[in-house]
């Protein structure tokens, strides 16, 4: 969790700021307004506990996916991930999770979490608007199914003055969906120049069930983060 008054942003990662003893995270991509607040709650033995709540408004983004370049059907409508023949209704999702952490960056920091989300307004969303791609399908399933259960864990450790790594595991359970689960594992190597600049790179392995069946994808990851 960021210290009070500290800010952090990545080329890809969201804008985060430490405030009120907790952390606010805001998506900087305007098409998918999204804000979350994480704050510490009581300790349990060696575990520091926290809670996080998030609200997402996906409608603009999903409509944008129907015609990213403003083209019409057959022009061709390049980069469209959702057919423009469908109506995307107004929708909203709420997500809450409990987080537990123990250890430290030098000895190894373990974080586990579990949460549940609900999607509102998706009853009029045609199931054929799903984006059946890794990362997209699991995250937008909440609007098709009305519910999403997520759990996971993370282990991170600094092994040299400027070098650390993170191993992350996420599990998505999508009750009622044609694709019912997704597992994501991420490994990141992080180079921290100072508290103002950080470079991270690694991979993400995503295995999941989609409407067409199961598939795994291995994807490279890279991001640059700035803090102040």
């Amino acid at each position: 969790m960021l210290e009070n008054g500290r800010y952090n942003i990545g080329l890809i990662l969201p804008f985060r700021m430490g405030v009120w003893g907790g952390e606010i995270s805001i998506n900087k991509f305007l098409l998918i307004p999204n804000i979350s607040y994480k704050y510490p709650i009581t300790r349990f033995g060696k575990w520091q506990r926290a809670a996080r709540y998030q609200i997402v408004y996906p409608t603009l983004a999903l409509r944008w996916f129907q015609s990213p370049l403003g083209m019409k059907l057959g022009e061709p409508d390049k980069f469209a991930l959702i057919s423009p023949e469908f109506h995307i209704p107004q929708m909203l999702s709420f997500y809450g999770e409990l987080i537990g952490s123990t250890g430290s960056n030098t000895t190894g920091l373990i974080t586990v979490y579990g949460g549940i989300g609900i999607g509102l307004g998706g009853k009029k969303l045609d199931s054929r608007t799903s984006i059946d791609l890794p990362g997209f399908y699991s995250r937008f399933s909440i609007y098709h199914n009305g519910i999403l259960v997520k759990a996971g864990g993370e282990y991170s450790r600094r092994f040299k003055e400027r070098w650390s790594y993170t191993m992350d595991y996420d599990m998505f359970i999508m009750p009622g969906g044609e694709g019912r689960y997704a597992f994501e594992h991420m490994g990141l190597l992080i180079w921290t120049k100072n508290n103002r600049f950080r470079l991270q790179f690694g991979y993400k392995l995503i295995a999941g069930e989609y409407p067409y069946g199961s598939q795994a994808h291995l994807l490279p990851l890279i991001d640059v983060q700035f803090g102040w």
Binding site: I12, L13, P14, S25, N27, K28, F29, I32, N34, S36, R52, Q54, V56, P58, F65, L73, G74, P76, D77, K78, F79, A80, L81, I82, S83, P84, E85, F86, S93, Y95, E97, Y113, G115, G117, R128, I131, D132, L133, P134, G135, F136, S138, R139, I142, L148, K150, F172, K204, I206, Y212, G213, Q215, A216, H217, L218, L219, P220, L221, I222, D223
Partner: protein, 361 residues
């Protein structure tokens, strides 16, 4: 929703553009094995003196629904129930005609636009065929246009006898497209398989040639298809071949379909406009099928076609039920009997089947 929605989606999307376990688009080798299928239950067939062969472009089982990609329609992702209804109609006709070898084009295998149904397996489990050999002409994890999503569509040989040594032969890519479009576009092919009819094996060859190329790609495709038949001829093998050649016979009377095929928003041949619609103007290529006619036996001869042209039309676009051109053919290096153009099936696809009985030597 979930932790860092945008963080993860953005990272993953960036990654997807760079690399994944499977290629985004299957580019295929020049020659590779076909994908083999078999029915849930096998009913072994004996040898015959004549083999009934049929070719049919089934428009991925959506009958005459308003699909955007091959005409003037406005729909992209069809309902699964609509596709099953279309498949049921096709299967009923196939069972009625009862061919021994069926050459299908535009068969979808787990494509988003047709509800991810594996149509190759569906046909095997819902008709009297036992074996199948499939060669995709368009296989991509995602087509980044029009919301098409995952696509896998291609040619399928169905047989009552076992198929072996089935191979997919890559044809030339369209030469009139930019590199990015070409990468995501169709990769036409020819499927060849040995049919293990007891004591009398023969070959089945299936293809679907380019429809919209404006350069000499179609000529290359016809040459590629013919070269495979020439190879079988040189080896002394008997074959049945066919498919949707997207070409009209050399003696066709009408060569320009621009007005018939134009959509509401289009205008061809109006005052000052002499541009032709892609795939609708056949005059420059009218002789391209002549070498096939000269070398091999068609199920419908040129004489028969010339005498009864309208009775042998096999295609009309979109929901227009009046067939207006012949694009679908059967060929052999031996002899056909009872060649037939099934114009009664015009509601089941935008193409209709052509069948004939092949005389086994």
């Amino acid at each position: 929703m979930v932790k860092h929605l945008i963080k993860n989606i953005s990272l993953i999307y960036l990654g997807l553009m760079l690399y994944s376990c499977d290629p985004l688009v299957n580019e295929f080798n020049d020659v590779e094995n076909a994908v083999m299928y078999r029915a849930k239950s096998i009913a072994e067939a004996g040898a015959r003196d004549t083999v009934k062969v049929m070719t049919w472009n089934i428009r991925f089982g959506v009958a005459r629904l308003s699909f955007f990609g091959d005409g003037c329609g406005d729909r992209v992702i069809l309902k699964k129930s609509e596709v099953y209804e279309g498949l049921e109609g096709l299967a009923a006709k196939i069972k009625l005609e009862n061919p021994d070898i069926l050459l299908l084009q535009e068969v979808d295998v787990q494509s988003k636009k047709t509800g991810y149904i594996d149509q190759a397996q569906w046909f095997l489990d819902n008709t009297d065929f036992n074996y199948g050999a499939y060669g995709s002409m368009w296989e991509s994890q995602v087509i980044l246009a029009d919301g098409l999503g995952r696509v896998n569509t291609g040619n399928l040989i169905l047989s009552k006898w076992e198929l072996v040594n089935a191979e997919r032969y890559q044809l030339a890519l369209r030469g009139d497209q930019d590199g990015l479009t070409q990468y995501f576009y169709l990769r036409r092919n020819v499927i060849k398989a040995k049919v293990n009819m007891p004591g009398k094996p023969f070959y089945a060859v299936n293809t679907h040639l380019t429809a919209f190329a404006t350069d000499d790609t179609k000529q290359k495709h016809i040459d590629g298809f013919k070269s495979i038949l020439d190879g079988l001829l040189a080896e002394g093998k008997g074959f049945v071949a066919g498919g949707d050649l997207n070409e009209i016979p050399p003696n066709a009377l009408k060569l320009d379909y621009c007005l018939e095929d134009q959509c509401e928003s289009e205008s061809y041949h109006s005052e000052g406009k002499y541009e032709h619609k892609e795939g609708a103007y056949f005059a420059p290529e009218i002789t391209w099928l002549s070498p096939l006619y000269k070398t091999y036996r068609p199920a419908i001869s040129l004489n028969e076609y010339g005498t009864y042209e309208t009775k042998h039309f096999t295609h009309s676009p979109d929901d227009k039920l009046t067939l207006d051109r012949k694009l679908d053919y059967l060929w052999t290096n031996t002899k056909w009997l009872e060649g037939k153009t099934h114009q009664e099936a015009t509601t089941l696809s935008d193409h209709i089947p052509v069948s004939a009985k092949w005389v086994v030597k």
